[in-house]
C-alpha cells in the first residue's frame, strides 16, 4: 500500500502554549529567554515578534533595541517535549500511529486514514482546524515519506500535498537544507553554489558519495522512499483496538455507557474468534480541545464476559470528566491471554467451585485499590523466617514445594522488638523477659534453633530462636542475635506470638 505521512511543524510551540495559558498576551510581541554565558538569549519568539525580525539566538538586549517594551518570559526548555508528547496523544484521533521529532515536530502515519475525512485535503484541513481551535499555529505537509513531508513544512508551501510516489518532484526546487543535513554540509553546498536539491542530484551518485559521504545519500534515499526510515510511535500501537466516533459530542454518562457497551461487544466478538480473553483494557474518550480521558482496568484471568468487564469500567466512571463532550471513543486491549480451562482443575472440588464469581470479586477489589493489595503466599525454600514464603504471581499458581513442618508463630512481628532478658547461663533460654514494661516469667522453653543468615543473600549475624511459655501459658518466639562473646552481651528480641 502506498504510504503517506503528515508532518506537523509547531513553528511557535512554546510561545503559542504561553499565549493559550495567558490569552492577554495574544496580540503583542513576545519572546522567551534563557541565560546563555551570562546573557539573556532569546529561545523562542512568537509570530508578531518574528515578523519584526526577531528570531531565536539574538540577545534580549539587541531585541529590546529593535522593539522597545518587548515582553519577555523565562523559557522552560525541558517542558517542550512534554507538551509535544501531549499533542501527539491529541493527534491519536487522526491516526493510531504518531511519532515525535525534535522539540517542535510531529509526524502522523496517515496511510489509509485520510478517506475518513473525505480525502487528503479534508484530512489536512481537519488537522489544521483542530490545532487552530486550540491556538497552535502549524505548518502542514503530506508526502509519501516523513523526510519529504518535513522538507515541505520547512521550505515548501504550507499544506502542500505531494502526489503519491512523486515527492521528489516537489522537493527538487527546495534548498539542500530541506534534506535535514548537517549544517556544515549545508554551508559547503552554499559555498559551491548548489542552491537547490535539483542541482545536487544532477551530480552522479558515486561522485556525491566520494565528495560528501554516505550520510547525504542516506538522507536523499530517505526522502525519496528508496530507504525506509525508522518509525517510533509515541504510543506503541495496540493490536486489539476498536474505535467509535460520535456525531455529536457525548456529554452524558448514559451515552458513554452505550459507547462502551458497543465497543466491548465488537472487541469481545473479535477476541473470542481468536480464542483470547481480556487481561487489561483501556477505554479512552477524545474531547475537543482537551486532553483525552481514559480509564484502565485489569483482570486476574482472561475474561470474555462483557458484563464483567463492563462492571469493572463502571466502577471508575466517576474519574471520567466529560466536559466539554467526547467526540470519539477508543477501546484498546493491550494485554490478552488465551482462554484456557486449566483453572477448573485447581478450583474444582473446592467450596469455591463457582470460581467465576470469586475471580470477578477479586478483580473488582484490585481495580478499586490496586492489584498489590491482594496476595496469596507460597512456600519459598529459605530458612530465614522473613524469607520463608513468597507472593504467588497469580491466584491459581500452585506451590512447588511443601510448607516446612517446623514450629512457627502464627503472628510474626514485621520488625523484631527488643526485650530485656535475664539469662544466667549462656546458651540457655532466659528465665524471664520484659516486653513493653510487662515481665514474663518463663516456665518452659524449647530451643535453641539456630538460623544462620543466608550469606549469598545477606550478610549478618545468626539468630538463636527459643519457643518460650510464660506462667500464664502465653507462648512467644524469642531470639538472641549473635553469640556470647567475652565482654559483650548479645541483644534479645521478641519476634512472634504462638497461637
Amino acid at each position: 500500500m502506498q504510504k503517506s505521512f503528515v508532518c506537523i511543524w509547531f513553528r511557535y510551540l512554546k510561545t503559542d502554549r504561553t499565549v493559550i495559558r495567558q490569552p492577554a498576551l495574544k496580540s503583542q510581541p513576545l519572546v522567551l529567554i534563557s541565560p546563555v554565558h551570562g546573557k539573556m538569549v532569546i529561545t523562542a519568539a512568537n509570530a508578531i515578534a518574528h515578523a519584526q525580525g526577531i528570531d531565536r539566538g539574538i540577545s534580549l538586549a539587541d531585541a529590546r533595541a529593535m522593539i522597545p517594551g518587548l515582553l519577555s518570559l523565562n523559557d522552560q526548555p525541558e517542558k517542550a517535549v512534554r507538551w509535544l508528547n501531549a499533542l501527539g496523544g491529541y493527534c491519536n484521533r487522526f491516526s493510531p500511529s504518531v511519532s515525535l521529532s525534535g522539540t517542535d515536530t510531529l509526524f502522523i502515519d496517515a496511510t489509509g486514514c485520510s478517506h475518513l475525512w473525505g480525502g487528503d485535503a479534508g484530512y489536512l484541513s481537519a488537522i489544521r482546524n483542530a490545532f487552530d481551535a486550540i491556538g497552535y499555529q502549524v505548518r502542514l505537509a503530506m508526502a509519501g515519506t516523513p523526510g519529504a513531508a518535513w522538507a515541505l513544512t520547512r521550505y515548501g508551501k504550507d499544506s502542500t500535498i505531494a502526489a503519491p510516489n512523486r515527492q521528489m518532484d516537489v522537493l527538487l526546487p527546495l534548498p539542500p537544507a530541506a534534506l535535514q543535513l548537517d549544517p556544515e554540509l549545508v554551508a559547503r553546498f552554499d559555498k559551491l553554489g548548489l542552491k537547490t536539491i535539483c542541482q545536487l542530484l544532477q551530480i552522479p551518485r558515486p561522485a556525491l558519495l566520494r565528495r560528501f559521504g554516505q550520510a547525504l545519500l542516506d538522507r536523499v534515499d530517505a526522502c525519496s522512499g528508496a530507504r525506509i526510515e525508522s518509525w517510533e510511535p509515541v504510543f506503541p500501537p495496540v493490536e486489539h483496538q476498536q474505535r467509535l466516533a460520535s456525531l455529536e459530542p457525548i456529554i452524558t454518562l448514559a451515552g458513554v455507557e452505550i459507547a462502551l457497551q458497543t465497543l466491548l461487544e465488537k472487541m469481545i466478538r473479535q477476541l473470542s474468534q481468536e480464542g483470547l480473553g481480556i487481561r487489561q483494557a483501556v477505554f479512552t474518550g477524545f474531547r475537543s480541545r482537551q486532553k483525552p480521558v481514559s480509564i484502565r482496568v485489569g483482570t486476574s484471568q482472561p475474561v470474555q464476559d462483557l458484563r464483567r468487564v463492563f462492571r469493572l469500567f463502571e466502577m471508575k466512571f466517576d474519574r471520567l470528566s466529560l466536559e466539554p463532550g467526547i467526540e470519539s471513543f477508543l477501546l484498546e486491549v493491550p494485554r490478552t491471554e488465551p482462554v484456557q480451562h486449566r483453572q477448573e482443575k485447581i478450583w474444582n472440588g473446592s467450596a469455591a467451585a463457582d470460581n467465576e464469581a470469586l475471580a470477578e470479586l477479586i478483580d473488582r477489589i484490585s481495580n478499586k485499590f490496586g492489584a498489590s493489595r491482594i496476595s496469596r503466599f507460597l512456600p519459598a525454600e529459605h530458612h530465614w523466617p522473613e524469607r520463608a514464603f513468597r507472593k504467588a504471581t497469580s491466584l491459581v499458581e500452585e506451590k512447588t514445594s511443601a510448607w516446612p513442618a517446623v514450629e512457627r508463630p502464627v503472628l510474626l512481628l514485621p520488625v523484631p522488638e527488643k526485650v530485656e532478658v535475664s539469662a544466667p547461663v549462656p546458651d540457655y533460654p532466659p528465665l524471664l523477659f520484659r516486653h513493653k514494661g510487662v515481665v514474663h516469667e518463663i516456665v518452659s522453653a524449647d530451643g535453641p534453633e539456630r538460623i544462620e543468615q543466608e550469606w549469598w543473600l545477606q550478610e549478618g549475624i545468626a539468630r538463636d530462636y527459643y519457643i518460650v511459655e510464660d506462667k500464664a501459658g502465653q507462648r512467644y518466639w524469642l531470639f538472641r542475635s549473635g553469640h556470647y562473646q567475652p565482654g559483650s552481651r548479645p541483644d534479645w528480641y521478641l519476634h512472634g506470638y504462638f497461637a
Binding site: 485499590f369 502464627v410 504462638f498
Partner: protein
C-alpha cells in the same frame, strides 16, 4: 418425652431459626466444622454457618490465639481445597505457621487495605459473594448498622464471616451470632516431658444467639481438638440435655 415430641420440638426450633434469618445455619448438607463438645452450645447442636461471628481478643497473645483457633476451624468450613479470604490492615499472620493448623497458606487470599472504611467495604462485598465460603476480617470500629448489613449479606449468600476486632478500639455491641474470646493456656506435653507442648486455648463463647454460652479448655493435638475437661457450666447443660 417421647421421641415424636422431641422430633417435633427439634423441627419447631429449626423453623424458628429459619424465620429469624438463619436459613443456612440449620440447613442440612452444609459443610461445617466439628468442634466436639462446643457443638452442644450452638443452636441445634450445629456450628452456625451463614452467619457473622466476632472474636474479641484483648492482647497480641489473644490475637495470635484467635488466629490459631480460626486456622484450625476454617478447614472444617471450607474443606481441604477451599479458599479463605482474609482482610487485614497489614498482614501479620505468618503464612508458614498456618499449615500446622491444617490450613495451608496458599489457600488463603490476603487482602491488605489500610483504611478501615475500605476494609468494611471489601468485607461486605465478599460476604455478598455466593462463591465465598469464609471471610476473616481484622476490623476496628464497626457500627451496629454495618453489622446488620453483614448479617443481611450472609443471609443471602450463605458465607460465614469472622470479625477479628482489634484490641485497641472500643467495642460497641454488634448484630453477630456469637462472640468468642480465645486466650492461650499452658501447653500440654504427654508424659511430663520438658519443653513447650501442644498449643492450648481457653475458648470462651461469651454470647451465642439461641444457644448456651460456655467456656472450654482445649488443645490442638495431632490436627484435632482435644478437650481438657468439661467446665461446670457445660457439664450441667450436657446433663440437662441428656435428661431431656
Amino acid at each position: 418425652m417421647s421421641v415424636l415430641t422431641a422430633e417435633i420440638r427439634k423441627k419447631l426450633e429449626q423453623d424458628i431459626l429459619a424465620l429469624g434469618g438463619f436459613r443456612h445455619m440449620v440447613k442440612d448438607g452444609v459443610r461445617r466444622p466439628d468442634l466436639g463438645l462446643i457443638n452442644q452450645a450452638f443452636p441445634g447442636g450445629l456450628f452456625p454457618v451463614g452467619a457473622v461471628h466476632e472474636l474479641l481478643p484483648e492482647s497480641p497473645e489473644q490475637v495470635a490465639a484467635s488466629q490459631g483457633f480460626l486456622a484450625a476451624l476454617l478447614p472444617g468450613l471450607v474443606g481441604a481445597e477451599g479458599l479463605v479470604c482474609w482482610i487485614c490492615a497489614q498482614r501479620q499472620v505468618y503464612p508458614p505457621a498456618l499449615t500446622q493448623f491444617g490450613l495451608p497458606a496458599d489457600r488463603v487470599i490476603f487482602v491488605e487495605l489500610a483504611r478501615p472504611v475500605d476494609r468494611l467495604w471489601a468485607l461486605e462485598e465478599m460476604l455478598r459473594c455466593t462463591s465465598v465460603t469464609a471471610v476473616v476480617a481484622d476490623v476496628e470500629a464497626v457500627s451496629f448498622v454495618q453489622s446488620r448489613r453483614f448479617q443481611l449479606a450472609v443471609e443471602a449468600s450463605g458465607a460465614t464471616g469472622f470479625l477479628l476486632r482489634s484490641p485497641a478500639t472500643t467495642r460497641t455491641p454488634l448484630s453477630t451470632i456469637a462472640s468468642w474470646q480465645i486466650s492461650p493456656v499452658k501447653s500440654r506435653l504427654p508424659g511430663g516431658l520438658p519443653g513447650v507442648g501442644f498449643p492450648g486455648w481457653r475458648v470462651e463463647l461469651t454470647r451465642i444467639r439461641n444457644g448456651r454460652p460456655g467456656a472450654w479448655n482445649l488443645f490442638w493435638e495431632s490436627r484435632r481438638f482435644i478437650f481438657e475437661q468439661v467446665t461446670d457450666e457445660v457439664a450441667r447443660l450436657y446433663r440437662l440435655k441428656k435428661a431431656v
